[in-house]
């Protein structure tokens, strides 16, 4: 096992093991990679099903896309991880109705590079373009437009799913669809999706910036003005204390109309590049309370100096961190986690208490992102639900962090909230049924699609997301 071994046939190959983790680089586990061969998506679906039927009992499988979920939801110790690079065959854009049929291995970056120049944008994008379609479905991802447009699943019209019971075509009203969207890859392998795109006339965003002095101020601003804009997010300085606690830079955005565009050049140009890449030698102490405090201060002052309305590119408004390659290495070998929760509207006191507790913690934390969610998708264990969501990155392996986050979990559960599975790497499994009350419906459907629990992940084992004995 210690040596790299390879298993090959004409239809598949297995390589590794390699040490794998999510974007937060903690925890880590050894797993192999499964590549399925075939002339196109349909042929690969059949080959994957054949592989599962023949080898499934001794080979558990974790669907893995680009590894942008933070914790252990795309790793599987002593199991097989799928390879997103092998699932890039279908890319059929239908301009008559603005829909795209696409293989699950394509990323939002791929889609934007192909279709922004033709005047179409993805319906939902998170803070990075480097997520696969499979991952976007599995986490039912959300973006800055959730309060208006909902989550990724809302714009997904059809899914093709390879589970041990067959190749299934799923539509939004199907229970199997509701279990698969937001289902963290545990119902089977999504091979293809049909999604709605939105038309745009320029590749620019009209951005409105407002700086707030306190958490109350921030909450008020978002409540009053969110509905006026398609995109909305507040960046909270979690290292500010006292009267400045919760001070924020709020940015609202709209796709710029062609009529508003000044200056020459292609209105739909889109070609984002890396400006830098972080080498894998950053020590864990690089991000300390001083350096992060200075960064946050700069960000806040930049917000204060910003013009109230400005024009930005898609990449600088939606994906500022994508400009720095492998920025997760900044946190050093010990890694980091992202804590993201949602609490219902009305639980603003819980939100404020959470911001206060996180500001007091003796760890450096960059800006936290605060946003109001619109209505939920109805998918069984999808994360977004109406309320306030807060997300922030924290270096792991700091004394006291485990207890602090447990305390926050308790507050959040008590007010009817939940943490986001795609970010989690540490929640207690006993809280999952309270956070996700429809988990039994999810389990029932997942068990129907995959009775032997062949599709599993390290997260699923840690949190018993399928049945305990699977």
């Amino acid at each position: 096992m210690s040596e790299t071994e390879s298993q090959r046939s004409s239809d598949f190959s297995i390589s590794g093991p390699t040490l794998n983790s999510g974007w937060g680089r903690a925890p880590k586990s050894l797993g192999k990679t499964l590549q399925i061969k075939g002339a196109g998506t349909r042929e690969k679906e059949v080959e994957l099903l054949e592989f599962i039927t023949t080898n499934g009992s001794s080979n558990k499988i974790a669907p893995r896309g680009l590894g942008r979920s933070y914790g252990d939801s795309s790793t599987l110790s002593s199991g097989l991880l799928t390879d997103p690079g092998g699932w890039k065959d279908t890319f059929d854009f239908d301009p008559s109705n603005g829909t795209l049929r696409v293989s699950s291995g394509y990323s939002l970056d791929d889609i934007m590079r192909k279709l922004v120049p033709r005047g179409y944008f993805v319906p939902v994008t998170p803070g990075t373009r480097y997520v696969s379609i499979g991952g976007a479905v599995a986490a039912d991802i959300h973006g800055k437009n959730h309060h208006v447009d909902g989550s990724f699943g809302t714009h997904t019209k059809e899914l093709r799913l390879v589970s041990p019971t067959g190749v299934h075509v799923l539509y939004p009203s199907d229970p199997e669809f509701k279990a698969t969207v937001g289902g963290m890859g545990l119902t089977g392998f999504v091979s293809e999706a049909v999604i709605d795109l939105i038309p745009i006339s320029t590749s620019k965003v009209k951005v409105t910036t407002r700086v707030t002095q306190s958490i109350d101020d921030t909450i008020l601003e978002l409540e009053e003005n969110d509905t006026k804009y398609r995109y909305s997010v507040a960046w909270i300085d979690c290292m500010a204390k006292g009267k400045s606690l919760g001070r924020s830079v709020i940015t609202w955005g709209e796709h710029l109309e062609l009529s508003e565009l000044t200056g020459a050049g292609d209105p739909l140009s889109f070609d984002p590049r890396f400006v830098a890449s972080v080498p894998d030698i950053a020590p864990s102490w690089l991000l300390n309370r001083l350096s992060v405090r200075a960064f946050n201060e700069l960000w806040y002052r930049k917000g204060k100096l910003a013009k109230e309305v400005s024009i930005e590119s898609i990449e600088s408004f939606f994906h500022p961190l994508d400009m720095v390659g492998s920025w997760n290495r900044l946190y050093g070998q010990k890694g980091f986690l992202q804590y993201q929760f949602v609490v219902p509207f009305g639980a603003e006191d819980t939100l404020k208490e959470a911001v206060r507790l996180l500001s007091n913690v003796k760890v450096p934390s960059f800006l936290a992102v605060l946003k109001r969610f619109g209505k939920g998708s109805g998918n069984y264990i999808a994360f977004p639900s109406p309320g306030w969501t807060l997300a922030l990155d924290i270096p792991t392996h700091r004394f006291g962090l485990a207890d602090l986050l447990d305390r926050l979990d308790a507050l959040i559960v008590a007010s009817g909230g939940r943490v986001y599975l795609a970010k989690d790497s540490r929640v207690s499994k006993h809280l999952i049924p309270m956070m996700y009350p429809e988990i039994d419906s999810f389990r029932e459907v997942a068990n129907r699609l995959d009775p032997e629990g062949i599709f599993t992940t390290d997260m699923s084992k840690r949190l018993a997301l399928r049945d305990e004995d699977l």
């Binding site: 096992m1 210690s2 093991p17 040490l19 983790s21 937060g24 903690a26 925890p27 880590k28 586990s29 050894l30 797993g31 914790g71 252990d72 599987l76 110790s77 002593s78 199991g79 010990k334 890694g335 986690l337 792991t396 392996h397 700091r398 004394f399 006291g400 962090l401 485990a402 790497s425 540490r426 207690s428 390290d458 997260m459 084992k461 840690r462």
Partner: protein, 253 residues
Amino acid sequence: MIDANSMPQSVAVFGGGSEIAGEIVKLLVEKRCEHVVLCGPNFQSMEHIRSQIQSTSSAQVDLVHFDLSQIDDIEKVVNNVFSEHGPIDCSIVAGGVLGDQSSDESSPAQVARVATINYVGPAATLTAVRNKYLDQGYGQIIVLSSVAGERVRRSNYIYGSSKAALDGFALSLGESLLEKGIYTLVVRPGFVSTKMTEGLKKAPLSQSPAQVAKDVLRAIEEQKELIWTPVAMRHVMMVYRHLPRKIARRVPF
């Protein structure tokens, strides 16, 4: 599974009667740990630890017969622990004997016994655990070493040298497992008041098993690879390690 704060959900103790390991387990079950496997030769002391653990938690505690001196059985028992009670997220290697330095000095059999229980058995156990971890793809290891092994002293060289061997083995095993994502912590306690040290004169900076356990939990959360407990012992040993032999032999403990 092990979470991002290094907290395990299951733990096996090799040397299951160890009071220090018992205290560590009591803290782990307050976090994410739900399943404990105590492996040792003495069911009475393991039963005692089991009842202590279960008085404060609902963790399942299994007892397995395991003897560090029966080196031919070690691999079989470890494999059995993983297959019957696994997955095991965290393995604590805690077994050991102090021996009686003054009477053992002239007994080849006793010297061999101390070296076997403190080094040969644990090294074999660690190797068996390593193999199982590479199979299951993850895991963590905690080894209870001793400051006695850092610089072996005239007054307890039989015990000290066995711990020195274990310490070196465990540190380097940890190095070899780093790139596999398997985390190893070596703990060097000073004098700990336990059954093993009952009747001995307490050395400076002595502490209770519960105090050691608290330091160990913190080290796991911070993912340290080597700790001294109490922390001050690190500095004491730093000085002691560098004393010339002529002076060192006059240090009274």
